[in-house]
């Protein structure tokens, strides 16, 4: 979810009316935005945008455009999308680009002299689009240039890494693309996108001047836009043609909203694209959709009628033609998020305001219930609380050291864990196969809490099980420990015995060897169909590893799926 800065004055100019910061806050539902922070001195408003399918809203122009449209009950389409004549300028795509970075789109913006607000916002939009929408420039990256110095046509082609030299932004001297990849900060940051390419993408004009080395860096001569510049070239390159065109459409609309005249570019491909071999950009990609009025009414639970729906959608920026039964809608060209009739239904609800829909209380009768696992776990919890045990509630992720090393089970059959591949911290690298380490952690950290310590937890654990479809099983376990100067096997056995008595689970203890427990003071709990686990006095080496000075005994068993 991107968060952007907008400035109140700039915003008001773009909306076309005066607005206080609280007005801005009131309008946020139209753009699924939330005001995070307001600075009264600078007029800066930090806005978080929720909708990841609406990159057109990740800039002040887009937010203002959407709100303007609702307030003015509609907006005229941008004329440059319907320009029929061939473009005056073009970009020629060279052979071989399809294997590296196949698509480019561009337009020229004339007559708007770059203001400080405009430049700041252009840079912010460029970054947000390339970063969040363009997946850190991998699928989409954007460049801005001083158009007056460029001799069209521009070529989008490939060069050898050391074939050409130009001065990149941020540097004084000329460098080859290879040098940029190894030295320039942007080359280091984004170079991996071009990993494995023998030849690298480059934009240059008919005089041989380099525009940029996409998606890495612009040239300093042509690609450093400054305050007051009036003629701009906007170019977008990338790997997905729809996304490349959408990003350009958004940029073109933003500049048009600031007063620029937008002129199209023809992009000539030596290969076929989904929009043909010559693509004139900006390009409206949206086709009209016929949607039944009934479907919208049913979804929203209100008989709004064709007229109301038509008005709402027009207000929200759609081009609309309606009949009594259906409505034909076309999304504006800066959006490309239509997938289903419900998307349109939501826009009707947003335009009319959610508060205009009165809630209907659910009427249907259903029987509520807890799962058998939860019922069993609640019974056990109640019993253990009654026995005097304090319930503990732990995180399920823990460290290998806690779960294995300190339990003295390294390199044994008990040391089988579900581990995380992308470890963030060694403290949380594994899922617990057993709850006892979580209880011992509490004991280790609480020597000053007054004794005795009777602790328990009922909860989920993860058992590695390569037979299972997902390689593991989630099980429900109950674990309890007693830590006090007289803690021993028979004391904890009494508690287990009582628990099993009240659960009516006949059980047996089978003498076994378990590295976590003292030899001869450990048993395997067997309870046909209900439970399986261990009980014993913890081995002094286990207690030492946890730095526990108090004799501690405990038990843990897995609750097998209870029968109804």
């Amino acid at each position: 979810m991107p968060t952007i800065s907008i400035f109140q004055k700039d915003f008001c100019r773009l909306v076309g009316r005066d607005a206080s910061t609280s007005d801005i806050e009131q309008w946020m539902p139209y753009v699924k935005g939330e005001v995070k922070d307001v600075s009264q001195e600078t007029g800066e408003v930090r806005v978080e945008l929720q909708d990841t399918n609406r990159p057109d809203l990740w800039c002040v122009e887009g937010i203002a455009r959407q709100i303007r449209s609702v307030l003015n009950k509609g907006m005229p389409p941008y004329s440059f999308f319907s320009e029929k004549r061939g473009a005056k300028r073009r970009i020629q795509v060279a052979q071989g680009m399809e294997a590296v970075r196949p698509f480019v789109a561009g337009c020229v913006s004339l007559g708007y002299a770059m203001t400080p607000d405009g430049l700041d916002q252009c840079i912010q939009t460029q970054e947000k689009l390339a970063d969040a929408f363009g997946r850190k420039r991998e699928t989409v990256s954007i460049g801005l240039y001083r158009a007056s110095a460029i001799a069209f046509p521009v070529t989008y082609g490939l060069v050898k890494p050391d074939e050409i030299r130009f001065t990149p932004l941020g540097f004084e001297e000329k460098m080859t693309p290879q040098e940029i990849l190894t030295v320039h900060p942007k080359g280091l940051e984004y170079g991996s996108i071009l990993a494995g390419c023998e030849r690298l993408p480059l934009l240059w004009d008919s005089d041989g001047q380099v525009l940029s080395f996409p998606p890495i860096i612009n040239s300093r001569e042509l690609g450093e836009v400054q305050l007051g510049d009036t003629d701009l070239l906007v170019e977008v390159t990338g790997t997905d043609l729809s996304m490349v065109v959408l990003a350009l459409n958004i940029f073109a609309c933003n500049l048009a909203d600031r007063g620029a005249t937008i002129e199209s570019l023809d992009i000539n491909y030596p290969y076929k694209t989904e929009f043909g071999a010559t693509v004139k950009t900006p390009l409206s990609m949206n086709q009209s959709q016929r949607i039944s009025i009934e479907a919208i009414e049913q979804a929203l639970g209100m008989p709004l009628g064709s007229e109301v729906i038509q008005e709402a959608l027009a207000s929200y920026g759609y081009q609309v033609k309606a009949t009594r039964q259906s409505v034909s809608v076309t999304l504006p060209a800066f959006r490309n998020d239509f997938m289903h009739v419900m998307d349109v239904a939501e826009d009707v609800a947003i335009t009319r305001g959610y508060e205009s829909f009165s809630p209907i209380m659910p009427q249907t009768f259903t029987v509520g219930s807890l799962s058998l696992e939860e019922q069993t776990s609640d019974r056990i919890r109640d019993l253990l609380v009654g026995f005097g045990f304090q319930e503990i509630f732990s995180n399920i992720m823990a460290s290998h050291q806690e779960l294995v090393d300190r339990m003295r089970i390294a390199d044994t059959e008990y040391a089988r864990l579900v581990e995380v591949d992308n470890v963030m911290s060694q403290t949380y690298a594994c899922l617990r196969p057993s709850i006892l380490p979580c209880l011992l952690r509490v004991e280790a950290l609480s020597p000053r809490a007054f004794y005795p310590h009777l602790l328990f937890e009922v909860g989920e654990t993860a058992q590695l099980d390569l037979e299972a479809n997902v390689g593991s099983r989630t099980t429900l376990s109950v674990a309890a420990i007693s830590a006090n100067s007289g803690a021993n096997f028979s004391e904890i056995h009494s508690y287990l015995d009582l628990l099993m008595y009240y659960m009516a689970w006949p059980y047996e203890l089978e003498p076994v060897t378990h590295p976590s427990f003292l030899e001869g003071r450990v048993g395997r709990i067997r309870c046909e169909g209900y439970a399986v686990g261990y009980i014993g006095e913890f081995h002094p080496e286990v207690l030492e590893a946890w730095q526990i000075d108090m004799p501690t005994s405990g038990f843990e068993f897995e609750i097998r799926k209870p029968e109804a």
């Binding site: 539902p29 609800a349 659910p362 259903t366 509630f393 995380v420 899922l431 007054f450 997902v470 099983r473």
Partner: protein, 519 residues
């Protein structure tokens, strides 16, 4: 009576001490109090300690005196002819009477005294010329008397009557006492010299004022009713001491549910009372059920908001259940039969098998949808979820999500709002609510619910929406479905007085024992 010192709550020992102090105008010492009341010194000091705390008596003077007293060795010496000097002379005398002469070795052989006690005594007697060493080491007595023996006998007799101040003795006797006093490394001595601080006490004004109100017969009061008193009926003849009931009682170690879990228990009972049925799922999920089935495209930035933990071994599930894999893949590619255009990309069925730690409770809902659930149906889960986040005060490594679904042919946007309104009143006792448009990858329309909690003010309580057809149709569900989630952790934290989300799962027993719900 407004005074904090109600005479009823005074201990019988306190009453005895107060009375005793009241009899005399001058201060009394511990010792005097013990003598007058015939209480043990420890009882006196206990009672005086309580009375000082209650400010009924005050300390009058404090003087430190050096006292000489008899040790258990001294008590033995005090018996007739039992000091080493006396015994040696007596033994040698009676042997001579029998015509024999004992050696030093013979004396040691009796084991009556320690060798060091004997050799010191023999040394003194020889020095005084009372004893002589003859041929063959035999001991012989002269006609002289031992001054030391005489002085020691006199001191033993004096001190035996009771501890006496050291400075009440003549200075040469003081020297002798010091020589024969217990020292570090030599405890076999007849005298002990130690400092004793004597404190004297007087009644305070408040203590004096209480005197007329003191109970009679307090000494016969008992504090604890015993089985014996009940069995023989003798409780009828005793009176029970009244307690200071405002003193803090001793702490107990008890069994108790964990406060956060108790909070979640109330949530689950609330939901079942509203007709919701509990669902459960696995901690380890496939990307398919965690994300693909929820129409989150494999490529889209929307997926980045759910950064997940991947499983190390095995990395992949064996298979994804059909027909769901094909149907979900189709809906991603071109919308399939859902009425959607789909995401238009090449869906990767292998990636769907990638194993992750469940990142959202909605995965449990997706699995329920695929199991031909009853219609109408209401379901919930309180599911442990994992996010690839740095752990800090607002991010836990694993946490609970409370979510669920409602299926029904009558479900639409307004019944969705109705359900949220119900949650607002049931879960947050909120009367004022607001709905905001929201975005979730798997619902459309999507709503955020803000409520005015009576204690917390305006807060976001949860999010919800109608599941997209792209979610329901491939899983075989044809009726509309509400998907909802409640964000209750903030409410829980404030109710439990916790600032740091990690403290919900703290391993500090003291903190767990102290945790409680404030509302």
């Amino acid at each position: 009576m407004n005074s904090p010192n109600n005479t009823d709550s005074l201990h019988p020992l306190e009453i005895q001490v107060l009375r005793e102090l009241g009899k005399y105008p001058q201060p009394l010492s511990d010792l005097q109090l013990a003598n007058h009341t015939e209480l043990a010194p420890s009882q006196v000091s206990m009672a005086v300690g309580w009375l000082l705390t209650k400010q009924l008596v005050s300390l009058s003077s404090e003087t430190t005196t050096t006292y000489v007293s008899l040790t258990s060795v001294g008590a033995q010496y005090h018996q007739p002819n039992s000091s080493p000097l006396e015994w040696i002379l007596q033994t040698v005398k009676s042997a001579a009477h029998d015509g024999s002469s004992p050696t030093v070795k013979d004396l040691q052989g009796t084991g009556k005294f320690q060798p060091s006690e004997l050799s010191r005594a023999i040394g003194i007697l020889k020095k005084e010329g009372v004893l002589q060493m003859g041929a063959g080491g035999v001991l012989e007595i002269t006609s002289k008397d031992s001054d030391t023996m005489r002085d020691l006998r006199s001191l033993l007799n004096q001190v035996q009557e009771g501890a006496r101040p050291l400075d009440s003795f003549a200075s040469d006797h003081q020297t002798l006492l010091r020589q024969y006093a217990v020292k570090r490394g030599n405890t076999q001595e007849p005298f002990r010299i130690d400092d004793h601080t004597e404190r004297t006490y007087v009644l305070t004004d408040e203590g004096r004022n209480l005197l007329p109100h003191l109970r009679e017969g307090a000494a016969q009061e008992i504090s604890q009713l015993t089985p014996e008193l009940l069995k023989d009926g003798s409780w009828r003849h005793v009176s029970f001491r009244k307690y200071s009931i405002n003193l803090r009682p001793p702490r107990l170690a008890v069994g108790r549910r964990h406060s956060y879990r108790e909070f979640l228990d109330t949530v689950k009972y609330k939901l079942t009372s509203m007709g919701f049925q509990e669902m459960r799922g696995e901690l380890i999920e496939t990307e398919f059920w965690d994300m693909d089935a929820l129409f989150m495209p494999q490529f889209h930035p929307a997926r980045a908001i759910h950064d997940v933990y991947f499983v190390k071994n095995p990395k992949m599930a064996k298979k994804i259940q059909e027909p769901f894999l094909s149907q979900v893949g189709q809906v991603h590619r071109d919308g399939g039969t859902s009425g959607s255009k789909g995401w238009k990309y090449e869906y990767d069925p292998e990636r769907a098998k990638r194993l992750v730690l469940r990142s959202q409770g909605t995965a449990v809902s997706a699995r329920t949808l695929a199991q031909n659930p009853p219609v109408p149906g209401k379901f919930f889960s309180i599911a442990r979820c994992f996010r690839y986040d740095n752990v800090d005060a607002t991010h836990a490594t694993d946490f609970f999500q409370v979510e669920g679904i409602v299926l029904g042919s009558d479900i639409n946007f307004r019944t969705l709002l109705g359900l949220l309104q119900l949650f607002a009143t049931e879960m947050a006792q909120a009367k004022e609510i607001r709905f905001f448009p929201a975005y979730f990858p798997f619902t459309e329309p999507s709503v955020e619910l803000h409520v005015r909690h009576p204690k917390l003010g305006w807060m976001e309580l949860g999010g919800a929406g109608l599941f997209r057809s792209e979610v329901t149709i491939p899983l075989g569900v044809t009726v509309p479905v509400i998907a909802w989630g409640l964000g209750l952790d903030r409410m829980a934290m404030i109710a439990l007085g916790i600032q740091d989300i990690r403290d919900l799962f703290t391993s500090d027993l003291e903190a767990v024992r102290n945790m409680r719900r404030h509302f």
